[in-house]
């Protein structure tokens, strides 16, 4: 990458876009969401209004901003040089997401390897937490209710299969796009979305099951916290990924993308693979081991 795009296929001009009002609208939306959420969490009425308004504004802003981008892209504004920028941008964005998950994985490992065993050590037993023994899953020494942990080989295993296959289908779609086989592209992209949605459906079912039958809740100590926050953030990312796939799907249907020019497709595919890899980590460390 030493020379960047600057040596070979150098374009004469880089597309520097025009001013637009979407960024400030995005900030306003986030601001309203933050204020709304603060009100909701502190049990003040009116918070939901701010929150809902913020979310709608954010969605509208994204719709318009991406709309502009798509128009520009289809209008041929973006050459190889801009394309490379998008690739760098997306890669580092995904990297930052990886680090976000790393924080939560860190919390999981900390609880399993450090804090729970520590709380069960001799001196902690003597002075603070009589009778607490180290085991995982654990909801900590102060937790009195009974709960059952989530097994790995039921729904989670199925979900693993679903996500892994969706990784395959999206790759097939990508390959078809490059070969110009639009029908296969559309079909496999559709499969990918279906698999993603199935995954989410099962996850919702699993959560309901956890709450109603296993007595496993967000408030079930360290186990509940790490379980729900990790799988929850992952689920949120799957949702975003599925929405992105859907957008791409409709673009494919309307004939967007060329075999050699389809960054948006690839960006989404990368994102989907990232979500996939995170799930593998979850499956191994949250459900299985």
């Amino acid at each position: 990458m030493e020379q960047g795009a600057s040596t070979t296929t150098r374009q004469a001009h880089y597309h520097v876009p025009q001013p637009m009002p979407w960024p400030i609208m995005g900030s306003t939306a986030l601001f309203c969401m933050a204020l709304g959420a603060v009100f909701v969490m502190n049990a003040s009425s009116g918070g939901w209004v701010g929150l809902a308004f913020g979310v709608m504004l954010l969605l509208y802003m994204m719709f318009r901003w991406f709309g502009d981008l798509i128009r520009e892209s289809e209008g041929g504004k973006y050459g190889g040089w801009e394309d490379l920028s998008f690739r760098w941008g997306m890669s580092w964005f995904i990297f930052s997401e990886v680090m976000f998950f790393a924080g939560f994985f860190g919390a999981l490992f900390w609880a399993r390897v450090m804090s729970v065993p520590d709380l069960a050590s001799l001196e902690h037993n003597t002075y603070l937490w009589p009778g607490f023994t180290s085991h995982w899953p654990s909801a900590g020494p102060g937790f009195e209710e009974k709960f059952s942990p989530m097994g790995a080989w039921g729904i989670p295993a199925i979900n693993t299969l679903l996500l892994l296959s969706s990784g395959v289908t999206v790759t097939i779609a990508h390959w078809a796009l490059k070969e110009g086989k639009r029908a296969i592209l559309n079909l496999f992209l559709f499969f990918t979305i279906v698999l993603g949605v199935l995954f989410l459906g099962l996850q919702v079912y699993e959560y309901a099951h956890a709450y109603s039958e296993l007595n496993l809740k967000l408030s079930t100590g360290a186990y509940g916290s790490t379980f729900f926050m990790l799988t929850g953030f992952h689920g949120f990312h799957v949702t975003c990924g599925a929405i992105m796939l859907t957008v791409i799907f409709f673009r494919c249907l309307s004939g967007h993308f060329k075999p050699d020019h389809h960054f948006a497709f690839e960006g989404v595919a990368w994102y989907w693979h990232f979500v996939d890899v995170v799930w593998l980590g979850l499956f191994i460390f949250v459900y299985w081991l």
């Binding site: 990458m1 030493e2 020379q3 960047g4 600057s6 150098r10 004469a12 001009h13 880089y14 597309h15 520097v16 876009p17 025009q18 001013p19 637009m20 009002p21 979407w22 960024p23 400030i24 995005g26 900030s27 986030l30 601001f31 933050a34 959420a37 603060v38 969490m41 502190n42 504004k77 920028s85 760098w88 941008g89 580092w92 964005f93 990297f95 930052s96 680090m99 976000f100 790393a102 924080g103 860190g106 919390a107 900390w110 609880a111 450090m114 804090s115 729970v116 709380l119 909801a139 900590g140 020494p141 102060g142 937790f143 967000l218 408030s219 100590g221 360290a222 509940g224 916290s225 926050m229």
Partner: protein
């Protein structure tokens, strides 16, 4: 400049479709955005500075004079947060915006609209921080480190602060993705990486630090949020969590963060010192390697902020050794700067004065850092004013001085006007003297055992606190002079010559007129 691409709308005016305020709100021009960042950062510096003065006012004498302890803690917290996230970081992003495209011969940042968003997240985040003062219970009084489980006891202001941190983090992540992409992909032909001005290098590496560290902070505060409101037990022993976990996650972000503050400052100084020494930067390549080494090491030293939480002895030793190692690459930098001055042909305009002030005092702060990195000594000094003195030496005399140097250095380029050299020198000397009066004595306070974050103190600490408080007010007044100097330059400064600094040789000086036009390098410059 004729065959420009259509989107610039050169047919009507320079700035695309919008005029008036909307021009600033919607702008995609890196120079506009750079200006916005710089003014925003200065305003935040005032706000954070006023809080610092409130702290120093209360600490002028023992006893509770002006602010109740709760409010005092809120000032301390917000002073730290605002200075770090609102003043220093945005200032350097402002420099990055102005300088990087010009220095590498690019037409603009790689993602110009995203760039606008990165900036426009900040005022909203800052508003959340300021609003928190006016909520029931006020702003959080937990320290800028937001340690759990004290955060759980706080009121509404805590939630606002958490969301503000999310927005600030988003801004930094988007901004750094932009900077990385710009540097990797937008260089003019022939501007290979090892020819880039060092400022671009330090920012490239800083941007990597940001993308890696900021999301972790976002995670940490998110856990605090759910611990507060949704019954999770990340930081609660009764649920099997651990308050110390918060500290690990925070400092995994927090230590790289201090180099996020320091590296761009190193970059500025690496431009200024050669220019006024009329001599190329000594050891360019080793500067690049040293910067990278600092960045990598910064991820494995975080627990030196936590020597007293009770880690196993192996942990303490590991983090102590790793921390001391940072002295080596930082030393390389210091030596390179001194070697650049050696045998040069030096002049001492204001930017150079600030650069020398930086060099001298930052190194002093680095040495106190080294003292703190040694576990037994840190166990004495942790959470005392010695630490406060240490980090103000590296952050104020380090980062802030470098920012001043950069402003005086590039102001002529940006505005086409010279600042008043005499007043600039006054600003430097007042800043320098009052800085030391304020913060040098805090080393003594720390050694003698004054804890930080206290609104009132035992009598034996009175004299140094008085000295420090007087220094702080002097320091603050000197910054009013700075504002005056800048405004005066913009409104009525003498016209700047094409190349005001003889020794400056990066692209913005050699390939662009003064002041720089609104659009530059739409056609990449030709480099020899």
């Amino acid at each position: 400049m004729s065959a420009v691409i259509d989107t610039h709308g050169h047919a009507h005016d320079h700035h695309g479709g919008y005029g008036g305020v909307m021009r600033w709100i919607t702008t995609t021009n890196h120079k506009d955005i750079g200006t916005l960042y710089l003014w925003f950062s200065f305003i935040m510096f005032m706000v954070g500075g006023v809080m610092a003065l409130a702290i120093r006012l209360e600490l002028f004498s023992p006893g509770i004079q002006f602010f109740n302890p709760d409010l005092f803690n809120q000032f301390t917290t917000m002073h730290g947060l605002i200075m770090v996230f609102g003043a220093i970081m945005p200032a350097f992003v402002g420099f990055a915006n102005w300088q990087i495209p010009m220095m590498i011969g690019a037409p603009d940042m790689a993602f110009a609209r995203l760039n606008n968003w990165s900036f426009w997240l900040l005022p909203f985040a800052a508003s959340l921080l300021v609003i928190s003062f006016f909520t029931p219970g006020g702003a959080p009084g937990v320290g800028w480190t937001l340690y759990a489980p004290l955060t759980v006891q706080m009121g509404v202001g805590m939630d606002l602060t958490i969301f503000a941190v999310h927005l600030l983090g988003m801004s930094s992540i988007l901004g750094s993705i932009n900077i990385i992409t710009t540097i990797l992909n937008m260089r003019a032909p022939g501007m290979n990486l090892m020819r880039m001005p060092l400022f671009c290098w330090t920012w490239l590496i800083t941007a990597y630090l940001l993308v890696a560290a900021m999301p972790v902070l976002a995670g940490a505060v998110t856990m605090s949020l759910t611990d507060r409101h949704f019954g999770t037990s990340f930081f609660n022993a009764a649920g099997g969590g651990d308050p110390v976990l918060y500290q690990h996650i925070f400092w995994f972000f927090g230590h790289p963060e201090v180099y996020i503050i320091a590296l761009p400052a190193f970059g500025v100084v690496s431009q200024v010192i050669p220019a006024f020494s009329r001599k190329p930067l000594f050891g360019y390549a080793s500067m690049v390697y040293a910067t990278s080494a600092i960045a990598i090491l910064s991820f494995i030293v975080w627990a030196h902020h936590m020597y007293t939480v009770g880690m196993p002895v192996q942990g303490q030793l590991f983090f102590m050794y790793a921390t001391t190692l940072i002295a080596i690459p930082t030393g390389v930098k210091v030596f390179n700067w001194v070697a650049t001055m050696w045998q040069g042909s030096l002049t001492f305009e204001t930017p150079m004065l600030f650069a020398i002030g930086f060099l001298f005092l930052f190194t002093l702060g680095g040495f106190t850092g080294l003292v703190l990195s040694l576990v037994p000594i840190d166990i004495q000094l942790h959470d005392t004013y010695y630490v406060v003195a240490h980090f103000h030496y590296v952050m104020v005399a380090g980062a802030l001085f470098a920012a001043f140097a950069g402003i005086y250095f590039w102001l002529p380029k940006w505005t086409g006007r010279m600042y008043d050299e005499t007043l600039g020198k006054w600003h430097f000397w007042l800043t320098m003297i009052f800085f030391n009066i304020t913060f040098f004595v805090q080393h003594f306070l720390g050694l003698a055992g004054m804890p930080r974050r206290i609104p009132d103190y035992p009598l034996m600490f009175e004299s140094w606190n008085k000295v420090s408080s007087i220094g702080a007010f002097g320091f603050g007044l000197a910054q009013l002079l700075f504002l005056y100097v800048v405004l005066k330059a913009i409104r009525s400064g003498a016209k700047a010559p094409e190349r005001p600094w003889e020794g400056a040789d990066s692209l913005e000086w050699t390939h662009l007129p003064t002041p720089v036009p609104y659009h530059t390098f739409e056609t990449p410059p030709v480099l020899k």
